[in-house]
């Protein structure tokens, strides 16, 4: 009958009215009592004791808790992670960047690391105002020194501040993404939850033991 298709359509929308939503809420969301107590890791009664205001809000479903969207460990985030002691200053990243936004200035280093002379980095500027986060610099890095970051909250008021300088890279929290780093994926590492302090953890080889080092660099020379 004419109009039957329309009525079927009305019921499809009605089904979705009572069904679940697919909205991802960020940076916080409002929840009821059960979820709020789960968030504060308490039972509902002790929630009232410790957070009375949140407790009362939770009764009407208005308690505010932090919420973060699910994120893959491979997510190519904004702030780059750079491990200085892995970097030799070869500037492969700068060379392979499709947009040429990485600027590296080096001078021959004082310190001699075991695997040959490395360069000291004077300037390591990444202009993420023009970066398209393709990750080819990370792919090109032969020593696993440069990594994609895992965040996306780098909103900045001035255009100049979009350039990541070498100091910023040095001091930044190291939460590298596992993009193009299969060795980190194997250890089921989550950039959201874990930080990486030791630069050996991000390399694609095992950290050599002292005996191996002596054998390689002292005995065999």
């Amino acid at each position: 009958m004419f109009g039957f298709g329309l009525i079927k359509g009305l019921f499809v929308t009605l089904k979705n009215l009572v069904g679940p939503t697919f909205t991802v809420q960020y940076p916080n969301k409002r929840v009821g009592l059960i979820k709020a107590s789960k968030y504060y890791n308490k039972n509902p009664f002790s929630l009232f004791k410790s957070h009375p205001l949140e407790g009362f809000k939770a009764i009407v479903g208005q308690a505010v808790i932090k919420e973060f969207p699910d994120q893959s460990p491979r997510f190519r985030g904004q702030e780059f992670n750079w491990f200085e002691d892995r970097c030799t200053g070869c500037a492969s990243c700068a060379k392979y960047c499709p947009l040429g936004i990485i600027e590296i200035v080096t001078h021959p280093g004082e310190k001699n690391i075991q695997e040959g002379t490395s360069y000291d980095i004077d300037v390591f500027d990444i202009d993420i105002g023009r970066c398209m986060f393709c990750g080819i610099c990370v792919e090109a890095c032969p020593f696993d020194a440069l990594h994609m970051g895992s965040g996306f909250e780098r909103a900045i008021e001035k255009r100049e501040n979009l350039v990541i300088s070498v100091d910023e890279l040095r001091s930044a929290e190291k939460r590298p993404s596992t993009w193009f780093r299969p060795q980190m994926e194997k250890s089921s590492y989550e950039p959201r939850n874990e930080k990486i302090e030791d630069s050996h953890d991000v390399g694609r080889h095992e950290k050599p033991s002292k005996e191996e080092l002596t054998k390689r660099w002292v005995n065999e020379r």
Binding site: F4, G5, K8, F11, R74, F75, Y96, E139, E185
Partner: protein, 368 residues
Amino acid sequence: MSLRTEPVTMNVGPIHPSTHGVFRMRVTFDGEEIVDVEPVIGYLHRGSEKLAEERTYTQVVTLTDRMDYVASMTNNQSYILSVEKLAGITPSPRGVWLRMIAAELQRIASHAVANGFLINDLGAWHTPLLYMLREREKILEMFEMLCGARITNSYLRPGGVFMDAPDQFWPALNRFLDEMPNRIDDIERLLTTNEIVLIRTQNVGVLKKDECLNASITGPVLRASGVDWDLRDKNPYDYYDQIEFSRPLGEIGDNHDRFLVRIFEMRESLKILRQCIENIEPGPVRPKEVPFLVRPPKGDSYVPIESPKGELGFYLVSDGGISPFRCHVRAPSLINLTLLREMVLGDKIADLFVTFGSIDVNMGEVDR
């Protein structure tokens, strides 16, 4: 009694809610009837083909993402196939299966967007669009698992893909394959028998078989007109020759046929995905001997693939260097758009947008 009327010319676009980007049309209409349409393109021209000439073969992958930005995976696929042919690289089997999975997922996502926006052009208050985008969202999440990005993927590399799929990808894909048929059923319940959709789309924007063939129109638009031409079947690339699937064909070639063909192709893509999961085998995802800096010998190559919008191919000329000497893209969106004027002449203004939406063009690809 006859009324004296005179035609009026009006600019539609480049900023308009339903020109799918920055398309512009100079529409001359008489009352509600369209007398003339003059498409104006070029508002999104970024010179991708020229930029490709000064980038290495790997770097160009990032440019292809930005051509058809609702179907980046298939763009990558087309480009990589062309590079592989040019450089004589034999891809790894697992890499090929993975990129087929990615391409079919992308086809579902692209068709979902196309159909959603088609219904939005019909004037539905975003509801079918959001249902479609909900499904696309799941696909994009899977892409994020695969390659860390949702739209500008850059997942494929010469010889396969850059990295194997992570562990959490396969359960997500299986869940998607289980859910998606029901979702498509829902969409069909909402739209395919909806009388308003039927009277709005049937016998509107008709493209005849020979018109299509003369204008070298490809993809779902061609198949909706009843021509059985699918490059996955006629000229199989990757491992499509090992896979069984059927091609939905329309009868008349009107907007409704194009809509239905896309819905059916989504179902077929689900079948292909299931077969890919069955056939995939462990192994490296790209051969070890392929260098980061591909340096193909002198020559040229063109490998067309069936992208969600039609035949997409990259014509690459190499002079033996590290970057292509010339890159030309056969963009299906641009070529499918050529018959827009013939399709809408004599229709009402409202049909113009529906017909335009049913071709499923992407301005990133048209202007490149």
